[in-house]
Symmetry: C2
Subunit: 304 residues, 2 copies
């Protein structure tokens, strides 16, 4: 295994398609990943938040990763999301990723307990890295307090980066607060700092950030790729904000899945994993009409 | 398997002792359970919140339940906590409990996603029950929004109770809001309504509630048992409040473990599972001194 490249540019947190039995549809997932890579996405994160990772068991997530590799997706295009509520599960998933040649892992903090101190968050990641015990590991810390309910403060990121130089490789900031992201760029300039909130990308790139791991890339990768170029026209940024304004009227994963279903003409995409619910038929219609009015034409792939 | 008795009276959400390797110490757990049953506790919930359930893998929780049964603890003294973030994990744990003769399960809502609608919570439990597909199952819904971040509103409890009569057997209300509990007693009088917040017990019992599943019972079962009797003297209620006022200055699981360590003279009890941290030595001293001053003498068992 050669030193894995740092995560940079446009990475997609892929949606997870389900079969009729509610399990992961490996063939459809591999087809989505191939399509995204062909469209210029740099790499993908299976079973992240957009991929409903915490709604799948460790075994389902291991099998999902294995299936992508078996389908010929190169390990250097993958960042494995391996964070679970239980440390033992996170250790198992992280070891599995390493074993299959994917040393880069995006890792949520443990998300059941609340009001954790900085010391507790530091020691959790520290124990994880020590227990996995593999110098090839490259950790991307995942800050998404609106869902994990456990923030990873810049002080903790800096302390971990100092304690595990090289192993702590980056941080994905999905908190949606650019001041927090700017603080990370100042505190840990040696790390890949990535955002989840797509409209922050132009500011991030001007400030020396690495890129994005995002959900919209499942649907409109070109729209996001445009934000990574130097001198982004203000119009491109506005369009991403407009897209989000429409989509975020709904729970975002079911909305993304409804758009993907419309794009592909394949209703199998509609179903999220419980506890998320699919958009109702009238919600799908309203969402797609609003996107159409805003100029986000959704033309099924097959008829293009 | 005969019809399992409804959960009533004093049930203890047992602490989970750890071995030096950080795994569950099965022998110490069985000894605690035997001790509590001998002291008059009606039954126990392993791997609940006080038992740090979500910090253990499905395999660790299955093995923990198996070890208790192998140690001779009767299934009718057990309520299995089986709720996980992933439906597939919750199904696996619930099926395992049923297979081992423990049809009564205390089940958290899925706790990663936030802002779930009532419909989403209803459909999650509905899909769980349908997937497990065993009429012997007895579900105790677990409302603890301060940690799960997903409330189970009385309307949802009532809807589930109507859809699955007999299978929905009770609800544990650990929200700490007695108005919410009173609402449950009105809406679903046919269910066992239990509280987690010990000082609400006298009011609950006067209003027709079933009892408690609580953490203090690990340490002072007599203190809580007194609150279940008719005509509780106000002093008994005050003493429980006083105990909580002292203990809740600290994260409650590490504090409970520190008290258990002092009671048994066994420092192995101190360690919680990450991300929780053990109380520091000075915190242990301060906690134990405050309890002593308040009349909660902690005398190691062995020297009694």
């Amino acid at each position: 295994m050669t030193e894995p490249a740092p995560i940079r540019g446009l990475w997609c947190a892929t949606l997870t398609p389900l079969g009729r039995d509610g399990g992961v549809d490996h063939a459809r997932l591999a087809a989505l990943v191939r399509e995204l890579l062909a469209k210029g996405v740099a790499g993908i994160v299976p079973f992240g938040t957009t991929g409903e990772g915490p709604s799948f068991s460790v075994a389902e997530r291991c099998e999902g990763l294995d299936a992508l590799l078996a389908a010929g997706i190169a390990p250097d295009r993958l960042l494995a999301a391996t964070g679970c509520a239980a440390l033992s599960d996170t250790v198992a998933l992280t070891r599995h990723a390493l074993k299959t040649g994917c040393p880069r892992c995006l890792i949520l903090p443990p998300f059941f307990w609340k009001n954790l101190t900085d010391e507790a968050v530091f020691r959790y990641y520290s124990m994880l890295i020590d227990t996995v015990g593999d110098t090839r590991l490259r950790v991307y810390l995942y800050h998404i307090p609106q869902l994990s309910a456990v923030p990873i403060r810049p002080e903790v990121v800096a302390r971990l980066a100092a304690a595990y130089p090289g192993i702590i490789a980056g941080v994905k900031d999905s908190g949606g607060d650019f001041e927090h992201t700017a603080g990370l760029l100042r505190r840990v300039p040696q790390l890949s700092v990535l955002v989840g909130h797509e409209s922050h990308l132009p500011r991030l790139m001007r400030a020396g950030g690495a890129g994005t791991i995002c959900g919209i890339a499942n649907l409109f990768p070109d729209l996001i790729a445009a934000l990574l170029k130097p001198d982004v026209p203000p119009d491109d940024e506005t369009r991403v904000r407009m897209f989000l304004d429409i989509v975020l009227r709904y729970p975002f994963v079911p909305a993304f899945k409804a758009i993907r279903a419309a794009q592909t003409g394949d209703p199998a995409w509609l179903a999220p994993r419980p506890p998320l619910l699919p958009l109702a038929a009238d919600e799908q219609t309203t969402l797609l009409a609003a996107l159409h009015s805003a100029g986000f034409g959704i033309v099924p792939e097959r008829s293009q």
